[in-house]
């Protein structure tokens, strides 16, 4: 068994194809969609958790690569720049999953990567711009 959170990026010509249907039907994977930014005829992005047999998972990844989808593991998406973080805590009420967490009584902020669902709300809510994403979001605005 394997369980992995991934980010899928769709070029415009694939957006309208039934990718999820194939993942479930052809590769017998369980799909839990965490976030979707999909617009017809534009690039799209899906963040989801896949679970199933290791071999099926690998075949599904291969198939998606062949379809022209870009795949990244979720952990690589959001970066907390601890050198830029002032530990104010402003992000902790914005983050929906407590991935950004205020520790008391230290009064410092911690980033728990596994809890992050890449909603990106913190990127702009952090006044010190300590939250970054590796992915260029220009196409998703």
């Amino acid at each position: 068994m394997i369980k992995q959170k991934i980010v899928l990026r769709f070029p415009p010509h694939i957006v309208e194809k039934p990718t999820i249907y194939h993942l479930i039907k052809d590769y017998d994977l369980m799909v839990n969609i965490l976030r979707a930014d999909i617009n017809p005829k534009k690039e799209g992005r899906l963040i989801m958790e896949l679970s199933g047999e290791e071999a099926n998972y690998q075949r599904a990844i291969e198939w998606m690569n062949k379809q022209g989808l870009q795949i990244m593991n979720l952990e690589q998406q959001i970066i907390w720049r601890s050198d830029r973080c002032t530990h104010c805590g402003a992000c902790t009420v914005i983050c929906p999953t407590e991935a950004l967490l205020f520790e008391r009584p230290e009064m410092t902020v911690h980033f728990v990567e596994e809890k992050c669902i890449v909603c990106e709300l913190c990127l702009r809510a952090c006044p010190a711009r300590a939250m970054e994403t590796l992915v260029d979001n220009a196409n998703f605005k």
Binding site: H87, C88, C91, V93, A125, P127, R129
Partner: protein
Amino acid sequence: MKTNRSIEEINAKIKTGKVVVFTAEEVIGLVKEKGVAAAAAAVDVVTTGTFGPMCSSGVFLNVGHSQPRIKLNEAYLNGVPAYAGIAAVDLYLGATALPLADPANRNHPGEFIYGGGHVIEDLVAGKKIRLVATAYGTDCYPLKKIATTFCLSEINEATLYNPRNAYQNYNVAINLGHKTIYTYMGVLKPDMGNANYSSAGQLSPLFNDPLLKTIGIGTRIFLGGGIGYIAWHGTQHNPSAERAGNGTPMYPAATLALIGDLKQMQPRWLRGLSFLGYGATLQVGLGIPIPILNEEIMGYCAVSDQDIFAPIVDYHHSYPYREGGNLGLVNYAELKSGAVTVNGRKVPTASLSSYAGAREIAVSLKDWITTGQFTLTSPAVTLPSVDASISLKTMPQRDPEEREDQ
């Protein structure tokens, strides 16, 4: 035994390495354990700190004379406009200034990625700053255009001068509306989704000398990671705000104008900030040493978060339309616990000011004093306090065409 100590005595102890310094956080426990009298007898100085967003900050620069000379008329530093109406090559750059090309809130909420505060951070970090300026040309200052770069060490003076810092207390901001709002108090989620505050509470300088008995013009302080001074009372200084029995105000009250040489400061404690939908500003680290002249002063320094109150204010309507009123008072212990109760509902809290930063500043200042690098100054003049009967004015709004002789 009554404690009665002078600043000269404290400085003599600093020189011989015998001075006893506690931070405003550490001293709370000491007073609880030993009482005010014993704590006052034992401790010479209490250090405070705060590290929060402070608009009304900026820097005076003298960039030196060009050849041929120029009398700067319109000047931009990394694209951010600086005020040039002072003298030929003197400029003032404010923390909230924005590049002319900044989209601001045209695509609401704007991001305000780079403004005056960021230029100041880059300057302190020693980065090259681009200066582009124009002038109308005179016989004595013939040059009409200049484009160059400089870094901090290459210019004559860079003086941080912040007209209003160190607010003695501030509002707790909440949103009673049904849509997210973007304010200088951060992102406020609809229907009281969060409550944001901005003070270090028990560590904050002006909560530890609430009636301004020890500090005044000329008080030497920690400013931006270096040494600075209190220049004046700050703008909107309102010591008359209603106070609790312990002397701390329950509403925004006193403020300070601060000054210091930027060249000895650190980018770590002067951070450019971008408030979504609001603008750019500067996060300033500052700390003030409180000399324990007597037991009364020690009593003030012993104040703790549960005895300091702040008003909860609606930033959806009440604040922007200046309606006044609030949704009740909460203390800083509640605010720092992570949730407060407003209108019978539990609301998560967050801070804009860094308590961890405030603590680090108070500890640094303590280290400077105990290692003899920092001595205290006696203020030349004290600041207007509760007895000055100051009342805060609002802007006169009248028809400018109205004639006075009618």
